[in-house]
Symmetry: D2
Subunit: 354 residues, 4 copies
C-alpha cells in the first residue's frame, strides 16, 4: 500500500534513505535450495555503483551488501532474506543548501507537501540510491531463472541512437564501453556527447533497451497482471523513467493489422515478432524486448530558479559531483527489475494448473 514492496510471491520490500545509516531490503518468498552466487551479486552491484567510469558520477558508494538471514551454509532456506547496504559516503553537509529549498524536477516539494516531514539529505527516500536494493534482489532472481537470458543496453543518448534491429547487435560489446551501448561506433559518439554535456554542467537523457531470451511460454496473468503491464510498472518505478514500450511499441501504432500480425510457423514460433514475445499478456516463447525512456538527470551544475518552503523565489545551483547521464548505470537496474517480474510470474505459473 505504502509502495515499498514489489512482487506477489517473490516479494522485495526495500527501506532506507540516501543519507541515513543504511539502505536495505527483505526478499520474502525466495524458494529454498538455491546456492547463492555472491560474486554474481557483487558484480551486478558494481555495474550500478557510482564512480565506475569517467562518464558517470564520481561519488563513491562501495555498495557492499550484508545478508542477515534466509541463507544458511550458502544456500537459501525459504525464509526471508534480509540485507543491508551501509551508506559510507554520506557527506550530509553537501546537502544543507536544499534543506529548505526545493530542487526543480526533484521530489523534494511533493514529499514535503505529502508527508509534512522529510529527510532532505540527498533526496532521502526519493534518491535513486534505493535501486541498489533492487539490484541485489534482481541478482538473486536471475540465479533462479538461470535458463532465461536478460540483456539490457543503452540504445540512445540524447538524439544519438543505435539504428539497428537488436538481432543485429553483438551483446558481448555492451560491457566493453562505459556507455553500455551494444554498438561500438554509436557508443563512441555517445561517450563524446556525455563528456561535452558534463563539461557544460548539464545532463542528458536516453533510452535503455532490454531483450529477454528463452522465456518459457505461459508467463504472465490475464487481464490486469499482463506480463508487459507488470514489466511496464517495474520500469516506470525506476527513478527518471518517462516511458515504456514493448515489441513494435509506439511505431507499431502506425501499422496496419496485416503488416503487424505475427504469422505462426509450424513449430508455434512466429515469423515476425511485433508482439515482442507477449500475446494477451502472456509470454509466447519468442524474444521479449522493450524500451525504457529516461529523462535527463534533474541535478545540474547551473543556476536555476526555484522556491523555498516559505514560497520565496530563490536561486539554486548544484554542488560538487554530478551525474551527466544516468542511462549507463540504469542498465543493471532495468535487468534487475525485469528479473523480479519474471521470477514472480515463474513461481505463480506453478499454481495455475490442477
Amino acid at each position: 500500500m505504502a509502495g515499498n514492496t514489489f512482487g506477489n510471491i517473490f516479494k522485495l520490500t526495500t527501506f532506507g534513505e540516501s543519507h541515513g545509516p543504511a539502505l536495505g531490503g527483505v526478499i520474502d518468498g525466495c524458494p529454498s535450495g538455491l546456492t547463492i552466487d555472491f560474486d554474481s551479486i557483487e558484480s551486478e552491484m558494481n555495474r550500478r555503483k557510482p564512480g565506475q567510469s569517467a562518464i558517470v558520477t564520481q561519488r563513491k558508494e562501495p555498495d557492499s551488501v550484508t545478508f542477515y538471514s534466509g541463507i544458511f551454509e550458502g544456500k537459501t532456506t525459504g525464509t526471508p532474506i534480509g540485507f543491508l547496504i551501509h551508506n559510507t559516503d554520506q557527506k550530509s553537509k553537501d546537502y544543507s543548501h536544499i534543506k529548505d529549498s526545493y530542487r526543480p524536477s526533484h521530489a523534494d516539494y511533493v514529499y514535503d507537501k505529502k508527508y509534512g516531514h522529510r529527510d532532505y539529505r540527498g533526496g532521502g527516500r526519493s534518491s535513486a540510491r534505493e535501486t541498489a536494493c533492487r539490484v541485489v534482489a534482481g541478482a538473486i532472481a536471475k540465479q533462479i531463472l538461470s535458463d532465461i537470458k536478460i540483456t539490457a543496453f543503452v540504445s540512445s543518448v540524447g538524439d544519438i541512437k543505435i539504428d539497428k534491429h537488436y538481432s543485429k547487435l553483438d551483446f558481448s560489446e555492451i560491457e566493453k564501453n562505459p556507455v553500455r551501448c551494444a554498438d561500438p561506433n554509436t557508443a563512441a559518439s555517445m561517450e563524446k556527447l556525455i563528456k561535452e554535456i558534463r563539461k557544460e554542467g548539464d545532463t542528458v537523457g536516453g533510452v535503455v533497451s532490454c531483450v529477454i531470451e528463452n522465456t518459457p511460454i505461459g508467463l504472465g496473468e490475464p487481464v490486469f497482471d499482463k506480463l508487459h503491464a507488470d514489466l511496464g510498472k517495474a520500469m516506470l518505478s525506476i527513478n527518471a523513467v518517462k516511458g515504456f514500450e514493448f515489441g513494435s511499441g509506439f511505431e507499431g501504432t502506425k501499422l496496419k493489422g496485416s503488416q503487424h500480425n505475427d504469422s505462426f510457423k509450424a513449430d508455434g514460433k512466429t515469423k515476425t515478432n511485433n508482439s515482442g514475445g507477449i500475446q494477451g499478456g502472456i509470454s509466447n516463447g519468442m524474444d521479449i524486448y522493450f524500451n525504457v525512456g529516461f529523462k535527463p538527470v534533474a541535478t545540474i551544475m547551473k543556476a536555476q530558479q526555484t522556491i523555498d518552503s516559505k514560497n520565496n523565489v530563490v536561486e539554486m545551483k548544484g554542488k560538487g559531483r554530478h551525474d551527466p547521464c544516468v542511462v549507463p548505470r540504469a542498465v543493471p537496474i532495468v535487468e534487475a527489475m525485469a528479473a523480479l517480474v519474471l521470477v514472480d510470474f515463474y513461481l505463480i505459473n506453478r499454481t495455475i494448473k490442477l
Copy 2:
C-alpha cells in the same frame, strides 16, 4: 495473483468470458455515502460499446449493467458492489472456425499452452469485452473524484496525428466526432483513413492521449507504486496497448536537464510541465498527461497463415464484422483506468499522516 483484481483499497475484480452468459465484477472498498449517478454509468458504457458509429465494429452489445449489492436506496453502503453485464449477442457459431486454430497475434495460442483448456469462443477471457467492467467501475470512481477532470481523446490514427500541444485543443470537440479526436480537422482525416482501412478488410493502430486536471498534490506512493508506474500498468493492461509515456515522454529523453527541468513559481506551480504533473511518483498539482499506444486490431478480413492445435499450418480468414480501429472506443477505457488508479491513491492518501 491470478490477475483479475485491480487496486488496493478501491479494488475491482472482474470475471467473465466474451461469449459466456455474462461478464461481471465486484468493487470492494468503495466508500459509503456516494449517491450513484446511474445515467452517468450508462453514458460511459455507451461510449465504449460496439456499434455506436460507422467507423467501429457493428456488433451489437447493449452492455447494460445490473447491480446486485452495495447500493441501497441509491447510495453506496461501503459493502462490495457486485454487478453483471449479460452477453446477449453471443453468436457462438461465428467462432467455430477458431476452435482448433490459433488466430495470429491473438491470445488463443498462449492460453492453450498456459491453461491446457480454454473457452475459445470470441477470445474467451482475453477478449476486450472484459473492459466493459472496467468502465462501470471507472464511472463510479469518477463520481468519487468529482473535482478531478479526466479527459482522453484520440491523438493519432496510423500516421495521422494532432500536431498541437494539448493546451491548444478544445476538449468539447472530442465527443462531436466519431473518432473522438480533439481536433476537428484531424478528426476528419482520421475518419477518412479508418473508412479506407475498413474497406480493405484491414485495421490500423493509434494513440490515445489523456489529460488529468485538478489532481490534488500528493497522490502516488514512493518507490514501487509511483503514480505514473500504476498509471502505466493500468494502461498497459488494456487490450492491444503497446506503450505508455507521460509528460515529456520518449521525446524528453533527447533533452538536456537545463531544458527539461521545470522551474518553480512562487505559488508552487511550475513554469513548464515536462514532469507531466508527477515528480518522484507523486502528483504535484500540475496537469497530468500521458500517451497510450494501441496496435492495430489483430482480427482482419484477409487470409493469414497460422497453425492449428496439432501444429498443422492452416489458412485463416476473419469472418463477419470487424473493428477497423479500436482507439475511438478505447477513449472511455483509458479514462476509466485512470480514474481507478487515482481513486485508489486518493483513498490511500488518507492514511499516510498521523
Copy 3:
C-alpha cells in the same frame, strides 16, 4: 482491505446483502483442468440451507447457484469463476421494524456508526446468508483436495457434549441426525434440547469440531501465516463464532511439557497428537483437529430492550421464523472454510522450493 476477499492464490471475493436481489462471489486462482462436480456443490449447499430439518429455521432459501464464467464444457479454465445465488424469499416487509432500531448483539448498530448508511433488511451484509457463497467455493476447493478428508460435526449444544475422543466416533453417523452430531445418543439429547429451546422462543450455542485427515506434510507458512492461524481466522470470520482451539487447545495449557510433547515414531508420525497435526504452523501429516465455538443466535422471540437510531430506549421482539441453534447448519460452513485455507496453502506450497 475492505474485507470481502479470502485467500491469496485461491481467492474468494463475495458480495451481496441478505435481502438484495442476489448474493454472489468470484473465485480467482482456481487451477485449470478441474472437472466440476456440480452435484457435489449442490449437496453442500443443501447441508447449509435453511428449512432442511425440524430443528433449524423454516425460512426457505433454495440457494441454487448459477455460474457465469471460468468453467467451459464442465471444466475449469483457470479464469475467474463468477457466480450468483438469487434471493427468492426476500420478504422485506418482515424487517421494517428494525429499520430504525438496533437488534441486541447484532451488527445493526456498528454498521450504522461505521458507514452512516446501511441496508437494514435482514441484517444486510452482516447476515449469515453470505456464508452460502463460502460453501460454493469450499465445495470446489474440496474437489481440488480430493485426497484430503475434511469432516466437521457438532460436538456440543448448550452444556450437552460428546464425551469421546474423535477417533472413537463413527463419522458416518453425522449426516444421519438433524443435529449433525457424530454420536447418535448425544445427538438425540441435543435434538431434544434444541426443540425445548425453540418452544421457549430462545436460542442456544454450541461447538463444531473438525477433523482433517490425510493432509500432506508441509502446508502452512512460517511466522504470521501459520496453518492454524489462518484456520483460526477462517473460523472466526464465520458469523457467531467466539472461539477457536486446535490440538490440545485450552486444555493443553494445563499440561506439562513432558505430558504434552508428541514423541516421534520411526516413520515420522507421532505417538500422541497434542499438536493437532500442526507444528510451528506447518502440517506434519497427522490428523488436524480443532473446535469452533458458536454463541447462541441473537434473534430470539422474546421481548428485549434496545435503542433506536435517535437513542430512544425501545422494546423489540423477534418476528416470524427463528433459528434456535445454528450449529447443525454451521457444519458445512466450517468444512468449506477449512477447505479454502488448505487449498490456498496447497497451491502456495508449489512455489517454495527451487
Copy 4:
C-alpha cells in the same frame, strides 16, 4: 504469501533466524509525523527479553534495536522503518546436537520436510526470538493509538487461574510480579508452581488475557476481516499458542440467547458485554477482551524419544538453560500483536466513508 508480513496498511515484515547475525523488520505504512518515544520501545523490549526474572529462561539477549530508516530528527517520515536486532549471545555450539535430530513438538521436522534445507541452530526461523521484532513494531503502533489502552496479563498457569472478572482486577499489579499476573495472591501461587516445574526440568502452559479499553466504534471490516478474526489470527501466529476466544468465548456457547444478548442502554453502550466489544466483526466501543492459550514449552530437560533425519529412533535431552513457562514473557507480545491489528484497522477506517 510466504508468511512473513502482517497487516495491510501498517505492514510489518520480519526476517532473521534465532542464531543468525541479526533479526530485523520493516514497517511500511507508518504514518508520518509521529515523534518516536524510543524509551517506550526499549521498555517493551525489556518486558519480552529473556533473563529478566528468576522464573524465565536465563539466556541473555540484550535485544537492543537499531533503526536504519523512516525516522528523521526523531519523527517518522512516512517512509519504511527498517530495523535490526543483533544476536549477540548466539552460542551455536549448544545446538549441534539437534543438527540431524528433530526435537519433539518443535518445528524442526516440518521445516526439513517442507524446505529441504534449514538453519537448525536454535530453531532458526521457527524460534520465538522472532517475536522481538513484533514487539518493536507493536510499541510504535501503541504510540499511534495513544488513546487506546491495551493491557495483557497472565490469567492462568497450569491449573492455577484467576477466578475474578477482569473488571475486578487492579492492572497496576501486573508488572509488580514476575508472572505478570493481575492478581497478587494468584501470582504467588503461579510463581511457586513455575519454580517447581523448573526444578523438574519440565515446563507448563498457561493463558494470557488481554483487555483493550477505549477503542473507537467502527474498527474491523465485515465478512472475512472481522476485528476478532484478525485478532485471532494475530494471536495464533505467536509461537506456542493453541487457542483464542473473545468475549464470552467457549463458555458462552453454553448460554441461551436471552442470557447472552447484550441489551443497549440509551447512550449506545450495552448493559452486559458478552460480545467482548465486537459485534459483527466491528468494535462497538465497549471493552474488547480475549484469552490466548499457550501450550507448555516443548524444550524440556528430560530425555525424550525422537528420530533423526534418517528415521533412526534416538534419545534427546535438552541442554543448558530452559524456559519453564513462557506466558510471563508472552504478555508484551500479545499486546504488540493486538496493537498491530488495531492500528491497521484504525488506518483502514479512514478510507471507508466518502
